[in-house]
């Protein structure tokens, strides 16, 4: 029961953050692919830097154990990502932002959106056996993390990732990696 309560509270803050970042808006999602508004990337990278710093420190202190790491199988991750990007640019949302946008009362997120995700889930579940086992068998590295895979110090990896993100933020905010909207 208490885990359910935690899930509800965390989910609420998650949806709140998506709303405040503006990710429940069509143009915010699409414009990251047009380089006219990089909020999606800034939001994601910030979340990643904060979370990985916290989690690797907490693990170092022995305060958390990592849950099952999402598996790496290069072809499947890549093909899935490629299809996902098409879906995002067409619809202007992803599963999480559609749920949060539905809560904002957007009727196109509530009806065709949520329904579409359920239909997609049914189609995937019914074709899983024909698709997933073969694609996930190619170049499968299992539930691995980069520091273990490449044998780099985990804190150094986090630090490098943080510096890379800061550089990226600098380029977006100061060095014109974000174009102005035409017109």
């Amino acid at each position: 029961m208490s885990t359910y309560l935690i899930a509800l509270v965390l989910g609420t803050f998650f949806g709140f953050a998506l709303n405040k970042a503006g990710l429940t808006k069509y143009h915010k999602i699409v414009n990251v692919f047009r380089f006219t508004d990089m909020a999606v990337l800034q939001f994601m990278m910030t979340a990643l830097v904060v979370a990985m710093t916290g989690l690797y420190i907490l693990r170092g202190l022995g305060l958390v154990v990592f849950p099952a790491v999402p598996a790496t199988y290069i072809v499947g991750n890549l093909v899935g990502g490629l299809l996902f990007g098409v879906g995002m640019a067409l619809s202007g949302y992803c599963p999480g932002t559609c749920a949060a946008g539905a809560g904002e009362g957007k009727v196109d997120y509530i009806v065709p959106g949520l329904l579409g995700f359920l239909v997609g889930a049914v189609i995937y579940g019914l074709t899983y056996q024909q698709v997933f086992p073969s694609i996930s068998a190619i170049a499968n590295y299992g539930n691995v993390v980069i520091p273990d895979l490449w044998n780099i110090n985990p804190y150094l990896t986090v630090l490098l990732f943080g510096l890379m993100s800061l550089f990226l933020f600098y380029m977006i905010d100061r060095a014109g990696w974000q174009r102005a909207e035409k017109e």
Partner: protein, 181 residues
């Protein structure tokens, strides 16, 4: 204090502030419940629940029995939270409105490209969602369950996924927007 309250009421925050909030949520999910954030898997749990009630024979397969068993999982509750989180966020900035007004076909940019037609928006929203869910299945998660949750643990899969997503997203936007890109 007043500054904080006024900031909460703002429609759009700095992505750095909102991103920090999401990062903290990601840490708490692991620390408090040893779980990862996610969204696409929850739709599988719900689809399985509906399917097992409507057509138990069809849904009696490996996937819906073992890989993604139906039921009210942690992820389903998280998804319900996402819904209310979006609602609270919109309520605090006074943009909560049920119906067509917040739809993408009322978005200025959408109108410039696709016009105001509702059926056009609904068709793209529906088929886009199907594609997104199927893609997330193949990849092993969506933007939340793989890109954020995997990325914060430094899983290579998350970064391969993000790279693929940006590559095809850019090409798709180029094709859709054409000269207006």
């Amino acid at each position: 204090m007043n500054y904080i309250l006024n900031y909460i009421r703002k429609d759009t925050w700095s992505p750095y502030v909102a991103g920090t909030l999401l990062g903290i949520v990601g840490i708490l999910a692991v620390w408090a419940s040893n779980s990862l954030l996610g969204a696409s898997g929850s739709f599988e749990n719900i689809a399985g629940m509906i399917g097992k009630t409507v057509a138990p024979k069809l849904f009696d397969n490996m996937y819906f029995n073992f890989i993604m068993p139906p039921g009210i999982t942690y992820g389903v509750i998280l998804l319900i939270g996402l819904f209310f989180g979006g609602m609270i966020g919109a309520a605090t900035s006074g943009t909560l409105q049920w119906g067509k007004k917040g739809s993408a076909n009322s978005d200025e940019q959408w109108k410039r490209i696709f016009g105001t037609s509702t059926w056009k928006r609904w068709t793209l929203a529906f088929f886009g969602a199907i594609l997104l869910e199927y893609a997330a299945g193949i990849a092993g998660g969506c933007t939340s369950g793989l890109a954020i949750s995997g990325g914060m643990l430094l899983a290579p899969s998350a970064f391969i996924f993000i790279a693929g997503m940006f590559a095809s997203g850019i090409v798709t936007a180029l094709i859709i927007y054409g000269r207006r890109y």
